[in-house]
Amino acid sequence: MIHSLFLVNSSGDIFLEKHWKSVVSRSVCDYFFEAQERASEPENVPPVIPTPHHYLISVLRHRIYFVAVIQSEVPPLFVIEFLHRVVDTFQDYFGVCTEAAIKDNVVVVYELLEEMLDNGFPLATESNILKELIKPPTILRTVVNTITGSTNVGEQLPTGQLSVVPWRRTGVKYTNNEAYFDVVEEIDAIIDKSGSTITAEIQGVIDACVKLSGMPDLTLSFMNPRLLDDVSFHPCVRFKRWEAERILSFIPPDGNFRLLSYHVSSQNLVAIPVYVKHNITFREGSSQGRFELTLGPKQTMGKAVESVLVSSQLPRGVLNVNLNPSQGTYTFDPVTKLLSWDVGKINPQKLPSLKGSMSLQAGASKPDENPTINIQFKIQQMAISGLKVNRLDMYGEKYKPFKGIKYMTKAGKVPEGRRDEAALP
């Protein structure tokens, strides 16, 4: 399936190559570079590029292109998903996935890639199996290894590889047994200039950090499972149980993992927790424009709106801005015309505002589109959909774990605002 992998950095150098079958010449990447040149933005490189003898499927993450070389028919998503899994694994092992980190750990990277694919077909992609085969590098272990000559490579087949619960290793032991669950929801919304919502949707994830000894069997139930419209599970979740009882029953992997991602049915009206008042005008013939923006909270159930960041792509005609924020700081990049305003926390008593003037290119005509405004924010201790965890129970082990659940709402990953003027994520 996957023949070879090339890692290409943002300046277009191949800094790592790995072949699972016979070696494919580097020159195959020339087709990729061609496509890269044609693309105006790094993101615009098409993920699938045909070449005379091979097909290149690439993903871009952390400003590194992971280019897989394919020789024959294979579902493209198969390769894409795998490449993302590789990136996740690197991130898991090295903390960051940068060119420097990969170069520093090239041996571990090679050992990992060797285990993850056999003859181009995924062999072990489950992080805890990999960690038993190849221990992640830590400073302490590096020191110990140099002194004792021991290695990072495990000698036994990880038990998970054979068991029906490949995601969990056996013999896990903790002195403090704890399980934390973070319910994180994101709102993606598009709002038009009059303030009415065009689309709004909530998607959420439950990220877990479970550090429990032995083989705990957990069940997690919700007060209002009906809210969840569409879900996707970590393989550990027993689907039948969810189907029948709307209960998440699972033997958790050890450590951090994403238990569930869900989508809240779009029938429910989404209450957007922030509003924007705006007045952005350009006058024909004048080299000045007015800019006024005020933010305010709404429907936050008394929780503070934090880490607010407003950004807006101003029209090309704008030369510079002279603004006065009531709180926080703003920056304007005269080259990219990107205005960003780091607001911080919204105080409902004193609403943050940003006012001032814009200077326009002399003689240029009035820009015909109004800028979009994107907002990012966070609200702690609240899940905007109202989803609530009812209880978490543990079976199969005798000790009493410490359990914790945290809620958070934030603006979508692709903070989308748009539409003539105001827009909220």
């Binding site: 993101e43 998903e81 060797e114 077909f121 140099t146 000698e155 054979l162 619960v165 996707s232 994403r258």
Partner: protein, 951 residues
Amino acid sequence: MSTNNLSYNEQGGGAEPAVELGQESTPTASGSTAAAGLFSTDFKKNEDLKEMLESNKESLKLEAMKRIVGLIAKGKNASELFPAVVKNVASKNIELKKLVYVYLVRYAEEQQDLALLSISTFQRALKDPNQLIRASALRVLSSIRVPIIVPIMMLAIKEAATDLSPYVRKTAAHAIQKLYSLDPEQKEHLIEVIDKLLKDKSTLVAGSVVMAFEEVCPDRIDLIHKNYRKLCNLLVDVEEWGQVVIITMLTRYARTQFLSPWREDALFDENSEKAFYDSDVEKEKADSKPYMMDPDHRLLLRNTKPLLQSRNTAVVMAVAQLYWHLAPKQEVSIVTKSLVRLLRSHREVQYIVLQNIATMSIQRKGMFEPFLKSFYVRSTDATHIKTLKLEILTNLATEANISTILREFQTYVKSQDKQFAATTIQAIGRCATNISEITDTCLNGLVLLLSNRDETVVAECVVVIKKLLQTQPSQHSDIIKHMAKLLDNITVPMARASILWLIGEYCERVPKIAPDVLRKVAKSFTSEEDIVKLQTLNLAAKLYLTNSKQTKLLTQYILNLGKYDQNYDIRDRTRFLRQLIVPNEKSGALSKYAKRILLASKPAPVLESAFKDRDRFQLGTLSHTLNAKASGYLELSDWPTVAPDQSVRNVEVKEWAPSLGKPKATKSDDKFYSDSGEEEEQEEEASESGSSGSSSSSSEEESSSGSGGRTSCRLCCLLSPVFVPPKSHELLHRMSGKGLAVSYHFPRQPCAYSHRMVSVQLTLTNGRDQPLEDICVGEAGPPGIAIHRFATIERLQPEASITVSMGIDFNDSTQAANFQLCTKTDQFSVSIQPAVGELLMPVTMTEQDFLKEQGQLTGMNESSVTITIAPDSMSSQPVGRKVVSVANMGVVPSSQNSIHRFAAKTVSSGSLVLSSVVLQEASTAKLVVNTEKTVLGSVLLRELKTALSQG
């Protein structure tokens, strides 16, 4: 050559590496020699590597190997170190060994003779007791692309395919593909191995062997028949990558084996696409023969459905395409939500999913219409994503939602990304042609856009308006006039050409303007682009025919210019037009028809989706993405017209047996016996949450009812227990019982009251000098434990004793059963603490079944320990005796003298408990207990351990 190559690669970047291999080998040395000098410094630095590798210190060798791997990773050639490296292949240090493997696989093809030196090491490792070492030896051995070792590989694969470890068998499946690509002549032998591995019941092997099947013999569909149901049932538990491969294969399989579930709908499709949504499908059904879906077809659909919830996007896509290609039309829409969910994933995933949605949305608007807003373009989307979303929005446009979509498009037109704005205009054009009601609205909107300041937008508008006017037999002379005015300002050639064509085509509607336009373009003719020149010629010719009075001279002038143009297309066109329109003595019959030729009414262009014919490819494939047949693409066949034989998938009874985890037969018996159904329910659930394979086992049950052909059988039968001298325990001492002494033992007989109970015999002795009266069991607890009381003993004479039996359901736990023994005068609280071995009932089964069951009960269900055994019990009898004395287990025949196997079921829930004792040298033994009841398993292990280690 190697040194040269190294230096060449030093240049890095996109330079072609000199390392060429086998089939692609073309000598590149010529290019590399020039750069040889550059390399020398680098080579010095790596000179010490050889010494390090030959040193005695492991750490130095490891260091050297790490640096070499670094070189390989950078794409530099390190092949000259081959002899030094290959020596370390047998190293004890596992990391060093692995790195040598990496090296070996990379360079063996280039240094075949030297590579052969390592083969014997692998052959030895293939026999290693550690499965990881066996597997990795096979992996490396099969990855060495040296044709000479093909027979050795073949042998190794055949052996590994029967290995006890599923992991090694999985590796064997991977090796099949490697050997096939090395030597396709082995195909027949490999198919045999594939056939064997396809029968494997391990979830670990399934994905890999299907992959091998797809690669080696995708046409041998006959190999799948017998395994079809098994694959369907295993699917949920197969690892995610295997799922993708299996689903894709089964899609193809199903298209050849089942009848089309769309027959009724097909009739409608021809008439109108939307007919499907009308509910009068029913009427049609009446006259055609009723369609019955093959239960196996249904099985596949049902077992893949839960996978839509997978976190792996490739799995979701695979299921979506399966439903698209196989499910009855009304069921396909269940995949919609999951596909829309994938749109929140990474950009690359979005790209592929959107492409597939685009294809689907052409045929089935209804599937995605409710999710229209999910396809709204966001300013942060990459260009190719934006284009695809536009495509889908256009496909989804109907009379009902067009106004929403148009409003959305209006925003896009104002986007700062002008290329995107232009694409939007094309989309508007398509909407306008598809939905005739809005053509006028769109046209007006587009005309307004003609005053846009951006030229690309205006140009695109012109092109689209041209197409729209052509579709609409029109009275739009206003628009044409407006466009004629635009000609002064527009510079985009395509737009200018479009305007000229429009005016020429409809010159009779704008008789006054047309000649003037011609006059203007005649002036600028020489500086125009070719495409504009051609249209100028066309315009001139058409005007000459309709209005020769005003335009005769102008046309002559333009034709003269065209005659001497640099472009031969234009010269050709000029010559052709002149002959056609200007009458002279030589002009033939054709010129009579000049007007009819040039001014024939032209069919309107059809604006259709670029995804129109993509559905000829299976969705989700690379070929679909590229819209071209990728190498190795396997066509999806059409549904067969006559139903193929269904019985080919029937499996002989022996072949398939459901896992013993919860034998169905016992369960129905339970229902019959147990007093309350509710209790039964709870019990079932408890065992389900205990076993992580619950999802699979329950789906298995469900499916067995659907797939009629399968009969379940139990592969083990209950045994009468081995006789062991009963061991009596004291329940109540004479002193504390005021003269009543009670002892109990486990007779190891099936309990007569309920087969969930363990039978217990109590021996009551009256130590007093008066008779005891009315001895009975009083209150009992704890709640989970059910007790069947013995009948009240009315009178027990002094010094007499009586034996009564009772049944206790310990619920498979070693929790003590507490109850009260009452006499007429007193009450004594007593408790019976069962030994874990007594909670079992012996069963017997064949060795194969034992191994299979044991294979399923691994991981958390397995506990093992190594013990020291007293030397006298190294022979089989003592071991068996000791095990049986502790636990009520049945002996399973074993083909090896050193392995003893025992099997039993728990009395209460009937879960299988397997135990094996493997005698090793130096009077040690490995004791393994496999059971779903993990707690019970570990207690049993402890007890067996104590029993066996005693002398």
